[in-house]
Amino acid sequence: MSVTDLATTERTRPRGAAFDPIFKWICAAAATTLLAALTGIVVLLAIGGWPALSRFGLSFFTSTDWNPVTDVFGGEGPIVGTLVTSFMALLFSLPIAFGVAVFLVEFCPRVLRRPIGVAVELLAGVPSIVYGMWGLFVFAPFFASYIEVPAMSAAQPGSLLEMLTQGVPNGANILTASIVLAIMILPYMAAVLRELFLTVPVQLRESGYGMGSTTLEVVTSITLPYVRRSAVGAVMLGLGRALGETMAVTFIIGNSHTLPKSFFDSGSTIASTIANEFNEATTPMYTSALIALGFVLFLISFAVLAIARALLGAEKAV
């Protein structure tokens, strides 16, 4: 008997091999459950929202008339509010998240890496209702007296600044909502960006330094180009979270269904509208309109995540 024969006979039937098909089926069932749940949610949202979508048609997206008394619903206010606050949040948190990630990768002394990493994770773990109450009771009054009032009194009558700052100086507006959202998505984006920066091969960066580049040059000419596409994906993930954020926004956005006309104007988002009104939505059309809003939010989030995945996937293929 040769050595190779011995090896093959011993390897053919490892102990417990009979369980592998079962294990495979368990995993497949888990994956199927997930897909089934997702499909179920989409289908139910579509069915539940259909009465409102079919009755109001395009005006559901182009009208701000949201009137529970007459059963007429147009979701333009919440839909636009969702997009505006989410993109503004992104705008605010992106530079900071970028700064945190670059600091952690390029400058941070080894001793500080862990504490800062833990702090970022803790920030991600704070429940959103806590951000909401902090926003309502602490941040909004602070923002009103130190930013809104000075800005509004500095504005010349008829100037652009006056147009952008009109509203009620009490801190409940789309700008404060966006800032609180920015704080909430910051840890996610910082964490993902840091991971991405760490994927840049050390040789590349070291050779950059070896050529006499400054840190700024290494970051802008080596690290960033290397992770460009994935970074866009990370940003999209943050955006996806901002889109669906509910309680914190509900507390400080001012909850009016009109289109926000300035930074200090109140507005609403899809998630905040559903959270506010679903409990007491008594007529079937009212409920349907809220579910239809949920369906729209699902489509927006889906589109954002699909773009994120496409960009992240493209990066891996390179």
Partner: protein, 346 residues
């Protein structure tokens, strides 16, 4: 507010501890009376070992759940109209009364110094009166130093029985409000900011100079908010307090209200607070299990007899004895499978 929160927390603990045991009766609905139902349930359990499980999911949810028969009783801050009751085979009865209070943030103005009518209040909420020194407000408040401040309107962002009472009252007093906005749990507000819950409205009013809002009485009282005196049906300006809510409840002609469909808004009587409302329990008239129905009625009968001090300590107003007698009589409509009333009060 703290008192109510503690009461809710205690009740939640009590319910949680007994969660493993059989829940004798179950109910769901309005959040406004939830603290007093919880407190009653706690005391009732100590005396009778019967368990009440109440879920404060909102009036809309309470109505849906009782229609689907998933609970033994539903609770709503808004009475159902008699024809809706009939078509669903339901009956309703009031339990406690509360008041809605306009609150404001005005420098140099004491609580009760501002006088207000329903019509002017509606014009403020319509956005037609924009400043505190508007002639319409000044006419009601001669000698009061009204500031030249813009008015910020604050309303509830979530659907609520409080908004239903407030907007329905404005509809009664102001035709423009009735045609443009109407009365409902949630409406299309012509202007202003929405705060979530009584807390949210109170917080916005506290933080915004020149704002006006409306909250349940308990929130106005416990937060020491500046409130307005309201003109009632008889033309008198009354303050929001328990006695004046009770006066409105006593003037309500419950005996002529089929299915207890009665809004206590704008009631006659010199002391009646004009924005008053009762909260209601909903039950099926035809019961499949006579014992369960009897336990529910027994609980509320007990609460009518013994629950008044607990309700008063949480700033609710209890029903006048005559109304309680009428309600007890109405329980005869709730019948078991054998066609007999399930419970007779002694």
């Amino acid at each position: 507010m703290l008192k109510r929160l503690t009461a809710v927390a205690c009740a939640a603990l009590a319910l949680g501890a007994a969660g493993a045991a059989k829940a004798d009766i179950s109910g769901a609905g309005a959040t406004f009376p939830a603290p007093v139902y919880a407190k009653w349930a706690e005391a009732y359990k100590a005396q009778t070992h019967s368990q009440l499980n109440y879920q404060a999911i909102g009036s809309g949810g309470g109505i849906k759940q009782i229609e689907a028969k998933t609970v033994d009783f539903g609770a709503s801050d808004k009475p159902l109209k008699p024809d809706v009751l009939t078509s669903n085979g339901l009956m309703q009865f009031p339990t406690v009364v509360g008041g809605v209070v306009p609150i404001m943030n005005l420098p140099g103005i004491r609580p009760g110094q501002i006088h207000m009518t329903g019509s002017v209040l509606a014009n403020i909420y319509l956005g037609e009166i924009k400043k505190w020194n508007d002639p319409q407000i000044a006419a009601l408040n001669r000698g009061v130093p009204l500031p030249n401040l813009p008015i910020t309107v604050v309303h509830r962002s979530d659907g609520s029985g409080t908004s239903f009472l407030f907007t329905t009252y404005l509809s009664m007093k102001n035709p423009a409000w009735a045609s443009k906005v109407g009365g409902n749990d949630s409406v299309q507000w012509p202007t202003g900011l929405g705060g979530k819950g009584n807390d949210g409205v109170a917080a916005f009013v506290k933080q915004t100079l020149g704002s006006i809002g409306y909250v349940e009485y308990a929130y106005a009282k416990q937060n020491h908010m500046t409130y307005a005196l309201m003109q009632n049906k008889q033309g008198a300006y009354v303050s929001p307090d328990a006695n004046n809510f009770a006066a409105a409840a006593a003037h309500g002609d419950w005996s002529k209200a089929p299915g207890f469909y009665l809004l206590l808004l704008d009631q006659p009587g010199a002391a009646s607070w004009p924005i008053t409302g009762a909260t209601f329990i909903l039950m099926h008239k035809q019961q499949t299990n006579a014992d369960t129905a009897a336990s529910v009625l027994k609980f509320f009968d007990w609460a009518y007899k013994n629950g008044d001090p607990a309700a008063a300590s949480l700033d609710y107003v209890t029903l006048p004895p005559a109304v309680k007698a009428l309600v007890r009589k109405s329980w005869g409509q709730i019948k078991g499978p054998n066609g007999q009333p399930t419970y007779v009060s002694h």
